[in-house]
Point group: C3
Chain length 156, copies 3
């Protein structure tokens, strides 16, 4: 009897093992290098998950947008589009545009370089971000879009 209770305690410790939770959020963007702060939405999902420590992977589905972090303030919201339009111009003619007759070659190239997903650690139920560091969707496409963002937590 004692021994079997010992097993129970051990097994129940085993049950506190890691979980994976996968959520999806829809974000409206204006495209054209629109930068949308999604930190609050991710925080709310994290709090609802009741997870205390682990990793949050944030991915945007598609090939003309990126996930990254930035200090979300009006100056940088103008600087990033200006910089990218200098480095990877939207007005240029790309071979991609010839393939499909569309005009978003620049959006694809920016997404490939900056990436569509990032992972962030959390402890005590809170993301380990700097005070002036927000998680953002950057939508490079040449039109307003509804974006599907996958928020996946691995943790306990």
């Amino acid at each position: 009897m004692d021994s079997s209770e010992g097993v129970l305690r051990t097994a129940s410790a085993g049950l506190k093992s890691l979980k994976i939770l996968t959520e999806q959020i829809q974000i409206s963007s204006n495209g054209n290098c629109d930068i949308v702060d999604i930190t609050r939405e991710i925080r709310e999902l994290l709090h609802e998950s009741m997870l205390k420590k682990g990793s949050a992977n944030i991915s945007v589905v598609g090939s003309t947008a990126s996930i990254s972090t930035i200090e979300y303030e009006p100056g940088l919201k103008r600087d990033l589009p200006e910089l990218l339009d200098k480095l990877i111009p939207s007005a240029k003619r790309y071979h991609h545009n010839d393939t499909w007759g569309d005009h978003n070659g620049h959006a694809h190239l920016r997404s490939t370089i900056i990436g569509t997903s990032k992972s962030f650690p959390f402890i005590n139920g809170e993301l380990l971000l700097g005070t002036w560091q927000q998680i953002v969707l950057i939508d490079f496409d040449d039109r307003a879009r509804q974006r599907k963002i996958i928020v996946q937590f691995i943790g306990e």
Copy 2:
């Protein structure tokens, strides 16, 4: 006896906990900004793993290549090398080339900026990618190479 069977059920629930599987694939590339679609190989490994939900981390070993996503079509396969050759020219003389007498300084710099690994969520045994979003190896080195790619799944 009843109580011991209860423990068994509990323990077996504990056994459904997360697993890590680490696989390696070899990919031949032509270098010189060759873009190789590796989505099918990753999907096959995911299906073989029998995992249903979790995260796939894809890494290329080395410092002159990157992993990212792109719409894998002929136009963008020309656009990305042209863009990178404008921004981070292969023909330029780099201090790195002086260090070793080689000619791939640009390849190192591109790899540092775009990154060597990315993580992607999956549910129902399928990667959550867009229809026109493929996972690719981009090999910046100045010669054909055999690349070692690590595919690591964390999931259940």
Copy 3:
């Protein structure tokens, strides 16, 4: 009795499930695109963790630095700052600088493009990096700083 010992073995297999360990390291940097090799620190934490296989997520807290990999040699340590100063000049006037009266707009933009976190697989207790591939903090800010880096292992 036999059956209860069977449970014990099963439960103990369950206990070998994945763990998350989150460590923090402090790194001094000179800013101004200083590149600091943090591979040794991460390796030491990995060895102390006793974990054998899994994933290491490395994040820098803040919005003016990045984590990436590079061949850590003197040539590239000059090439990367020169390249970034050409693409995203530090001397340029940014709207961000107008917002706060500071001079690090370029540092924010570089951090957004290169990213603040990366994940690396490990097996047999060792990171799967190339021989000439080091994990580095790149500090773009315009002054020396103490940087907080989160090292999170998920593994077994």
